[in-house]
Symmetry: C2
Subunit: 114 residues, 2 copies
DNA sequence: CATTGCCGCTACGTTTTGTGTAGCACTGAG
DNA sequence: CTCAGTGCTACACAAAACGTAGCGGCAATG
């Protein structure tokens, strides 16, 4: 038996404890550019404009909105030396995305095989 | 020394191999409701309407659009017994989100402590 | 055979979100 | 002073999502 979806919460009953936090982060990551911004800030702080370029010219309107939100959520802070940088918590989040990258490879391979 | 953001690709150089697949899945997951739909489909298939309700009354327009896309991407298929269900690949993706759920808890705790 | 009920959708007008370009106020260097 | 770089903000436009209404199909029921 394939062990997929084992010991995950039951679908019908929306299990209160783990959901709200997960729901909130999913909502946060579901707004455009959010994950990309975190991704581009890996390793070194970037200035507003540098970050904008790194994100392929995202509009400053949205960039600013995202940075505000990420700041409120404790994921991004102003760097003392100028620019923006990730908090340790955000860096952890980035680590989580490594398995996702591996999965993405398999996914793309599966797409090619269709 | 904190090991955050260790052995991740360098920021400036956008490392070609792993990026495109990751970029595509991030884009896919960055459209509203996508992850929620996958989440609600965990465990058991749901009908269009049931899924719509499970997602808190998302508009059928968007739901249909997402289901089409998820179908094309090989993550969701029609269930022989009616309704929609996840492919094994999508179930794996769901597994990846378990660390994310754990992270979300720590994140919320950190928010409370601010 | 008509009614009822559920199925997967589609149409359409409104609202929300993101885009793209321009430019402002501030600061430090020359 | 000028000049370049900083972090933004304004505004008009386009795209995406919302919410409600309802259509055609199909199976069970009276």
């Amino acid at each position: 038996m394939p062990s997929s979806s084992a010991d995950l919460p039951k679908p019908g009953t929306t299990p209160a404890p783990t959901r709200p936090a997960l729901a909130e982060i999913v909502e946060l990551l579901s707004s455009k550019w959010t994950m990309r911004i975190i991704w581009e800030l890996r390793g070194a702080p970037l200035t507003f404009r540098a970050l904008q370029q790194a994100c392929g010219g995202v509009s400053p309107t949205v960039l600013n909105r995202r940075l505000k939100r990420l700041g409120e959520e404790g994921l991004v802070v102003r760097d003392p030396a100028g620019g923006y940088t990730l908090t340790p918590l955000a860096a952890e989040l980035l680590q989580i995305y490594q398995p996702l990258a591996a999965w993405a490879q398999r996914w793309q391979a599966a797409k090619g095989a269709r």
